[in-house]
Symmetry: C2
Subunit: 371 residues, 2 copies
């Protein structure tokens, strides 16, 4: 019987995620499974929690990986925190802000979207104006908009909310492990991420963290969380305390992968990791400029790990991406929504934020466009 896994090509994943996985993390995924209540496994869980606290820059006790991909993190954030009729303000400048509005709306939230042109950041003064107009239970923003390559001013938005009753929700799917994430400093209450970006672990888990204020909201809900699988009141009984109560069977081997991915980042050191992402990004931008390619986003708002590059007149970006994949075994991403066809998206995430990856891509792009 033919087995397709034997034919998996070796592709350099330089799109918007998943990113290429570090060898040690692949190895971790294939370690012997343990039971979800095994004492050794519970110790691994505890170390994952502690590692995530360091990565997130938080002392939040409720810091756990959700058993689904990054989007399950978004779902968990809203479904635990929103009750029907709650006013939610979403600062939207890309696909993932749009997704937040969809997720929250389905849960019965009264959603207001404050939108900004894709490729530009959220403007803090406009947020301040909007906050005068109404009281919101939650204000939500994406730290690193994967669809546009924009870094939003999460600290400044957090400063506006300080002292208010409003919970501050920040999506850090693409930023965690690539640029500083300091959720306690920002005053963020509800935060989630993914494993398949700068942590260079395959997709499948969503690290998340909830502040004491968020936990209070959770505990004072007037009805049960309308999602059994993601109900944090039950998940915490499995992830915390001396006696662990079975909820759902944890994704054991994916958690090994996350453990190793966190280990890799902490072993290298967070500052070194951030510097490596920055250096690779600068090398890429300089190389692209040499070729005459310009970036979509103004320099000060650019993400190092997600580079949105304007496609020059006369270049067929879809054909280039296909040739990159087929001939050079490099995957990059296309533009989404209004940016489809206008930009390409180049990921320099985690293990791939290296000079050699940048050079391999630039070299291939030069060869393709020189024809």
């Amino acid at each position: 019987m033919k087995n397709m896994l034997d034919d998996i090509p070796s592709i350099l994943l330089m799109g918007p995620g998943p990113s290429s996985v570090a060898p040690a993390t692949y190895h971790a995924l294939s370690r012997q499974s343990l039971g979800h209540l095994d004492p050794t496994f519970i110790q691994i869980m505890d170390e994952i929690k502690a590692g995530l606290q360091t990565l997130f820059g938080t002392e939040n006790a409720l810091t756990v990986p959700i058993s689904g991909t990054g989007s399950a993190g978004m779902e968990a954030a809203f479904v635990n925190m929103v009750e029907r009729g709650d006013k939610v303000l979403i600062l939207q400048n890309g696909v993932f802000g749009q997704r937040m509005a969809d997720v929250a709306g389905r849960l019965g939230a009264e959603v207001t979207e404050l939108t900004f042109p894709w490729g530009t950041p959220v403007i803090v003064d406009q947020v301040a104006e909007q906050l005068k107009k109404d009281d919101y239970k939650i204000v939500a923003v994406v730290h690193a908009e994967t669809s546009t390559g924009v870094r939003n001013p999460v600290q400044e938005i957090g400063d506006l909310l300080r002292g208010k009753d409003t919970l501050y929700l920040v999506d850090t799917v693409t930023s965690l492990g690539g640029i500083p994430v300091e959720i306690d400093k920002w005053g963020a209450d509800i935060v989630y991420s993914g494993t398949q970006k700068c942590l260079s672990c395959p997709p499948g888990l969503a690290p998340a963290s909830f502040s004491p204020a968020a936990v209070e909201k959770l505990q004072s809900r007037s009805c049960k969380v309308p999602n059994w699988y993601l109900d944090l009141t039950m998940l915490t009984k499995y992830w915390e305390g001396k006696t662990r109560v079975y909820h759902h069977t944890a994704p054991i081997n994916m958690l090994y992968g996350l453990y190793q991915a966190i280990w890799n980042v902490l072993d290298e050191g967070l500052e070194n990791v951030y510097a490596r992402h920055k250096a690779a990004h600068e090398r890429l931008v300089a190389g692209l400029a040499d070729m005459g390619w310009q970036m979509l986003v103004e320099e000060k708002y650019r993400l190092p790990m997600l580079n949105t590059v304007l496609v020059p007149e006369g270049v067929d970006e879809a054909a280039m991406r296909k040739e990159l994949l087929d001939t050079y075994h490099i995957e990059i991403g296309s533009g989404l929504g209004p940016l489809a066809g206008k930009i390409i998206r180049i990921g320099l995430m985690g293990y791939n934020a290296q000079d050699c990856c940048v050079d391999r891509l630039l070299d291939a792009m030069r060869k393709i466009t020189a024809k």
Copy 2:
């Protein structure tokens, strides 16, 4: 920096799941990641769907793995199919029937539970009586109750529902790949499973299948599915058709694991797999009887892959389980709810449904109880 993964002990997982993983499946998990829209990966997705159709005994086009553990499959089943006020009848004789009631209730279903003593099967005549009392949108049952070791009469219940508008939901988390699952023959409309039982793949995915009638219900909903992450109307656009539309980033390497796990089962042959489970079960029951241990469940309703064994007077089952784990490196499970302390649960799932595993466990139990 110390790495806990280096200290993972090698444990024979003979509890209620996760089960021990086949070597080829561990290897699959550590294969090179691909992008979630990579052409090779899409072929792998198509083969997974086809393999699941064979395992489930169905021609349902909508047969896909949900990106979460078995409980996410349960969540997906109800959240896509239930609208507020829908009457749902749950045939409950264990923890997972209880869980169904909780899941459905949170989604606004009007839940009726028809309960049966734990350790005994659903009685078909009582279901027939109940069906005369009201019209239900959904009737739900667990095929293989992991908490009690009971096989419920899913074919006979399905026969009661034939020709009715009622959708028939069957949980096959523990049965799939261990005893025949024939959802088209049963007339089941909504079915889900897990990877960590008889497929011997780590937890993290929930194979699921939906009949044309279930798809019709999905498409005629009066409001959006109140769960973005598990919304099948969007998931199908990623899993079906010529042009695949990104929804959430699929858990790539877990899907490699599932691909291999399905491959293992089909390569051995479904009938051979079922026979192996049956033989291992019979060997276990005979060995236990020799020791004077009796089964909880009447013979004709016993599950081969989940053996519930009455703890004889004078045996401290918690101490025995601890010694099995610490000294013999074998994990078995405890009883849940009203069965806590009264039974142990021995899994013979997938890769572990082998004579050598049965003998290793029996030998260890003999040594412990002889002291």
